[in-house]
């Protein structure tokens, strides 16, 4: 057994190591070292906890067994998961953090003595508030992440689920949570505690179902943030510095990512949370319009010819590339182009894909050097000087309507200036509009050649034709 002061110092050290873990991510070169800092911080925190509890009975054996069970499952998932499934993996992991927070809060409530929070029925007021916040936020994180997981995995439809009185219901439930926390503090009654957790689970579900597929990057970031606040709430209850620091770090990290994602879509955080975006009410009108417009479509041969004669090509990947798993074929195509002395770069929109940085990871998986991959603001001026833009699986993020039509729902959203290229190749399965439900006028431009096919199949065909 070590003194509480000494273990507090060790928890502080692991908190600092966690800060360094995030700090390492400022560049790919330092990132791996950062990850080791994170692992070291975790090991310190766990070992110190074992020593400071000082219970070396059979319980400890069980703890280690359960730790290993979880560890093996986690390691198995980490090695098996395809990179295209990262968004749902992250959502799934968030749900586990949330549920763990709920369970720790329940354990602390049922056995406050173990955490020196007072005795049953007479838990310290501050601790009670902290643990109910931890439990409520944890429960919202859990059920919200489960819904996000189901939507990302395609088990549940990605389109928003809206019913009348939805926001009012959420508001009432939100107020109910506060009222319950208040009465819990007064009465310390078990049933109120359980009701609090049950309502929080419900709020998590209701909060995420109205949010459409295209807004998933915001949702995932937001749930990331929630999982942090839940951890911080529990950290206050346990009076544990490592947990408080980590909770604050994760909470602000998720909040910043949500902000970046919202800004990249030119939408306010509130409007994303209220949901309903991507509902297909406008779809039918668009369909009629588009039937009348002529489209130039081509095949792999045409595309290969165009690119072979170009001197610079910019590739714009999107969610469609992830769905089709076309990143490896794409890389093959780029290798061929480079052999012909064609300059190839990649342009990534912040909300391309279903989570922040989704496209970067997929390109990394396909061994694309990260110095060929550029963010929107760094590459947008290059489109005007480039010969071919190869848009693969992206749509809304290239739609020039965001710059021209104030009535469009995506007006003001920063977009990639693909149309400024001499010619545009658009790999898409059909003319259907993107998630935002808006027609892309780029399809009908003279310098656009539509390549109607599965992204992977088309890319492979182009590779063949490049020989």
């Amino acid at each position: 057994m070590i003194s509480a002061n000494l273990s507090a110092v060790f928890y502080l050290i692991s908190g600092i190591l966690f800060i360094l873990a995030l700090r390492g991510l400022s560049s790919p070169d330092t990132s791996r070292q950062g990850n080791y800092f994170g692992i070291a911080g975790m090991i310190i925190a766990i070992v110190v906890t074992f020593i400071s509890v000082g219970n070396f009975s059979t319980s400890l054996v069980y703890v280690i067994v359960f730790l290993m069970i979880g560890g093996v499952i986690g390691a198995f998932i980490a090695f098996k998961i395809p990179m295209t499934a990262m968004p749902e993996l992250v959502a799934g992991f968030h749900s586990l953090v949330g549920l763990a927070a709920v369970f720790v809060a329940i354990a602390a409530y049922l056995n406050p003595e173990a955490f020196s929070l007072g005795v049953i029925g007479k838990i310290k007021l501050a601790s009670l508030i902290e643990m109910s916040i931890g439990a409520a936020v944890g429960a919202i994180t859990f059920s919200g992440s489960i819904i996000a997981f189901l939507k990302l995995r395609g088990i549940m439809s990605g389109s928003p689920i809206i019913f009348s009185g939805q926001h009012l219901l959420n508001l009432i439930l939100g107020i109910a949570i506060f009222v319950l926390v208040f009465y819990l503090c007064k009465s310390q009654s078990n049933s109120i505690f359980w009701a609090l957790i049950a309502i929080s689970f419900l709020v998590g579900v209701l909060l995420i179902i109205p949010i459409g597929g295209a807004d998933m990057p915001v949702v995932i970031s937001m749930l990331n943030s929630y999982s942090g606040w839940a951890a911080a709430g529990i950290g206050f209850t346990l009076e544990n510095t490592a947990l408080i620091i980590t909770g604050a770090l994760v909470g602000s990290s998720g909040a910043i990512l949500s902000y970046i994602m919202c800004k990249a879509m030119n939408r306010s955080f509130i409007s994303v949370i209220l949901g309903g975006f991507g509902a297909d009410s406008s779809l039918d009108k668009e369909k009629e319009k588009k039937d009348q417009k002529p489209v130039k479509s081509g095949n792999a041969e045409d595309a290969a010819f165009l690119m072979k004669n170009a001197s610079s090509v910019i590739i714009v990947p999107g969610y469609g590339m992830a769905v089709a798993q076309a990143q490896h074929a794409l890389r093959e195509m780029v290798d061929k182009l480079k052999k012909n002395d064609i300059k190839v770069t990649y342009a990534i929109h912040p909300v391309a894909g279903r989570m922040p940085g989704h496209m970067n990871v997929l390109l990394a998986e396909a061994n694309v050097p990260y110095d060929e991959v550029f963010e929107l603001e760094d590459i947008n001026n290059d489109f005007a000087n480039s010969d071919v833009a190869f848009v693969i699986g992206a749509n809304d993020v290239t739609n020039p309507i965001a710059k021209t039509d104030p009535k469009s729902p995506i007006f003001g959203m920063p977009v990639l200036d693909v149309e400024k290229c001499k010619s545009v190749l658009f790999v898409k399965r059909s003319l259907s509009p993107g998630y935002a439900g808006i027609d892309n006028e780029l399809f009908y431009k003279d310098n656009t050649l539509m390549l109607f096919a599965d992204a992977k199949k088309m890319t492979e065909d182009i590779v063949k034709n490049l020989d």
């Binding site: 800060i19 700090r23 069980y62 359960f66 730790l67 354990a107 970031s221 604050a248």
Partner: protein, 102 residues
């Protein structure tokens, strides 16, 4: 009058939010996915609370209700810790290979 220890913890919390703010803004956008998976892993330090809960109480009753919640929480958090750090490592490894190639 003595200062409540809660205030100290609150100070740590608020200062950490500021640290988080500046550190996260410096993360390069191409590493945002690893950022999410690593924050996931480190927030599972909540396992500390799970261990305390699991080890609490007498040795005769290893699986009281509150212990059991602790044990389940250990499994959940462990999945996250191992899964989170390993998948982050796997992703970052991919960024490495390319760096060498060029």
């Amino acid at each position: 009058m003595e200062i409540d220890p809660f205030i100290f913890r609150l100070s740590i919390f608020i200062l950490s939010i500021f640290i988080g703010y500046y550190v996260v803004w410096s993360v390069t956008p191409s590493l945002h996915t690893p950022l999410m998976s690593v924050t996931n892993a480190i927030s599972s330090v909540i396992i500390v609370g799970a261990i305390i809960a699991a080890l609490a109480g007498s040795s005769e009753n290893t699986f009281s209700t509150s212990n059991t919640f602790g044990f389940i929480a250990i499994v959940l958090a462990a999945v996250n810790i191992f899964g989170g750090f390993l998948v982050t490592q796997r992703m970052l490894q991919m960024y490495k290979k390319k760096g060498k190639k060029k």
